[in-house]
């Protein structure tokens, strides 16, 4: 059964996590398992992706119960893409973690939890069942709670309290929304829900349900005005953790929003207006947040928020091209944001601080490293033709088509501030003359590390930099992918048929 491969990305990480738990007592073995497993998961993701690309949407009914009775897993182009991105980002973070995470943290389950997190992400992307999606979300948040608190430092805990509370709160809202949805339709299968929700006469209730989903997922996606947890916490854990958070976690919220609003709640003008408004405000508020920060990790946190606006904007515009733009942006953003936080980790390794005030001199001392870091830094701005640039073409064009100049303004504003902020980072962190390195007990600066460690740190950054360069220069391929996803999402009967098709044929 070729459909089996839909579940492979899940199974691989599940098995990895279990194996890692069995090797609790040996960090060395854990590292080997994680490293090898990440490669395996990348191969699986590529396999799944190419199969979906060539053969179209794949579905598998877990437990062999035909939809909508069991839990369906669906790998359409969107899901397969997200799984692939997770694998790419995951392999980078896995290696980076092996190189940078304190032994003490590794001893307390860092790697198993990391793979649980990746498991949750893959599950969330592949599931075709709304409640099952909730469960995957829970896997994701509990893993992230553990990762964000692992080590239990003061700032970690303070950040974690907010992160925890607001994310749990989001889950409650999500669950509430599922309750209402089940109450209205008696179904959980998303394809089935699509049909049933469309048949509900009381559109007001449908709209309220949609708003609940918007808020539940919106908190996780960190859109305005629901993003508070993100700036409070993302800078607190080790950079490897921030990297996987920054790259993937908010994106799963975005994914869910896009999925739900293209499959189940479609064509509600009021909601589209709201989403567009929120997108614009997210772009704006995130940008000014980034503008005023001094800690590079915090700057990146706010950039995450701001740029979520681009993705939400694509959803709100609700045309094939706009959704394609959002998808392109997601692809770019996952790779680049993951890398940015790893870069912040590298900077910390080099200089022992993340405060712009005290940073400096990296360019003079490490020109090649600086060049390497330049790639994600400039990609995030979207300096053409780097990766962040391309999706904006579709987004601006589509905003123009509805003659919403505010949105164009927001896009330009956010891009400009990003440009400004990155230029300032370059000037302050790389150009400015370096200060004396602070002495931190038991901290090993980059230049003191063994070559092996250096490679573990630089390898992932270079790998993702290479990917983002590919996204930028090979934009045609990415755009074709994004357009295909956009087309599939905007024609949701494709999805529905691939899930429920068999049932319809049988009388």
């Amino acid at each position: 059964m070729i459909q089996h491969i839909v579940l492979y990305p899940i199974i691989v990480h599940l098995l990895l996590a279990i194996l890692l738990l069995f090797s609790w007592n040996s960090i060395k073995i854990q590292k080997i398992i994680s490293a090898a497993g990440s490669v395996l998961s990348l191969l699986v993701a590529i396999w799944l992706f190419s199969t979906v690309w060539n053969e179209g949407t794949l579905t598998i009914q877990a437990g062999n119960w035909e939809a909508p009775f069991g839990i369906t897993f669906v790998a359409d182009a969107f899901a397969a893409t997200m799984v692939l991105l997770t694998a790419i980002s995951g392999i980078a973070v896995s290696y980076f973690s092996i190189g940078t995470i304190l032994k003490a943290r590794l001893k307390f389950g860092y790697l198993p939890i990391l793979h649980f997190l990746l498991l949750g992400l893959n599950g969330a992307f592949l599931t075709g069942d709304i409640f099952n999606l909730y469960v995957w979300f829970e896997i994701i948040i509990i893993s992230s709670f553990v990762l964000i608190t692992l080590g239990g430092e003061k700032k970690q805990l303070e950040g974690a309290v907010k992160y925890f509370t607001l994310n749990i709160f989001a889950s409650v809202i999500f669950l509430t929304a599922v309750a209402v949805l089940y109450g209205l339709t008696g179904s959980l299968n998303m394809a089935d829900l699509s049909l049933k929700v469309a048949a509900i006469e009381n559109r007001g209730l449908v709209e309220v349900t949609a708003i609940l989903f918007l808020i539940g997922f919106g908190i996780k996606a960190a859109i305005f005005p629901l993003y508070f947890w993100l700036p409070a916490s993302y800078h607190t854990p080790p950079p490897a953790v921030s990297a996987v958070f920054g790259g993937l976690l908010t994106k799963v919220g975005v994914y869910a929003l896009i999925r739900v609003f293209t499959l189940i709640f479609v064509g509600d003008a009021f909601l589209e207006t709201i989403i567009l408004t929120l997108a614009g405000l997210t772009l704006f508020v995130g940008a000014i947040g980034a503008l005023v920060q001094n800690n590079i990790s915090k700057i990146f946190s706010y950039l995450i928020i701001s740029h979520i606006g681009f993705m939400i904007l694509g959803l709100g515009l609700y045309t094939e091209a706009a959704i394609a733009g959002a998808i392109f942006y997601i692809i770019h953003d996952i790779v680049v944001k993951t890398n940015l936080f790893m870069v912040s980790g590298l900077i910390y390794r080099l200089k022992g601080t993340m405060s712009m005030k005290n940073l400096g001199g990296i360019y003079a001392k490490h020109p090649l490293l600086s060049l390497l870091m330049l790639v994600p830094l400039f990609s995030v701005v979207g300096i053409p033709p780097l990766s962040g640039f391309w999706p904006k073409l579709s987004l601006i064009t589509e905003s123009f088509k509805i003659e919403n100049y505010w949105l164009i303004g927001a896009i330009i504003f956010a891009t400009f501030i990003t440009l400004f902020v990155i230029a300032r980072i370059w000037a302050e962190v790389f150009w400015k003359e370096g200060k004396k390195l602070p002495t931190i007990q038991n901290f090993r600066y980059f230049h003191l590390l063994k070559l092996e460690k250096k490679i573990q740190i630089l390898g992932p950054i270079a790998f993702l930099a290479f990917i983002s360069l590919y996204i930028g220069f090979g934009a045609e391929n990415i755009q074709q992918l994004a357009e295909r996803v956009g087309t599939e999402l905007m024609n949701n009967q494709l999805y529905i048929e691939s899930v429920l098709g068999n049932i319809k044929e049988q009388p």
């Binding site: 409640f131 909730y134 469960v135 829970e138 948040i141 509990i142 709670f145 553990v146 608190t149 239990g152 430092e153 003061k154 700032k155 805990l157 303070e158 950040g159 974690a160 309290v161 907010k162 925890f164 509370t165 749990i168 709160f169 409650v172 669950l175 509430t176 599922v178 309750a179 209402v180 089940y182 109450g183 008696g186 959980l188 700036p231 409070a232 916490s233 800078h235 607190t236 005023v292 920060q293 001094n294 800690n295 915090k298 405060s355």
Partner: protein, 117 residues
């Protein structure tokens, strides 16, 4: 009965929220627990409630002989309850640890990560 239950669920949501808005960590966690209970009961209620007919097939039979309660919401709630248990235990330990490290139960004093630095 549904009417009263709906009000009670509203009460759970309201109390949960109110507790979350307090400044105490302990209250915050209690609030989250109350909210979680509210959500579970909401699934239960909206899945439509049936009295005295548990979804268990009688011993002698292979099917249900008469009306029975919808098992799906029950299964969902079970999963949700268990998951919230996991989260709650983590939360409870988190407050313990946070208190030990930050040395306060007052949430208002835990905002260093939001300060400009």
């Amino acid at each position: 009965m549904e009417f009263l239950l709906a009000i009670l669920i509203g009460l759970l949501y309201a109390s949960g929220l109110y507790m979350m808005l307090r400044r105490s960590l302990v209250k915050l966690i209690i609030g989250l627990i109350l909210l979680g209970n509210g959500a579970n009961l909401l699934i239960f209620l909206l899945g439509r409630i049936t009295k005295g007919k548990p979804p268990i097939i009688p011993e002698e039979s292979k099917f249900f002989l008469d009306a029975y309660a919808d098992p799906v919401p029950q299964a969902l709630i079970l999963t949700a309850i268990v998951i919230s248990f996991g989260l709650q235990s983590f939360a409870i330990v988190l407050i313990k640890r946070a208190y030990k490290v930050v040395k306060t139960d007052d949430l208002d004093q835990m905002n260093s990560t939001d300060e400009f630095s």
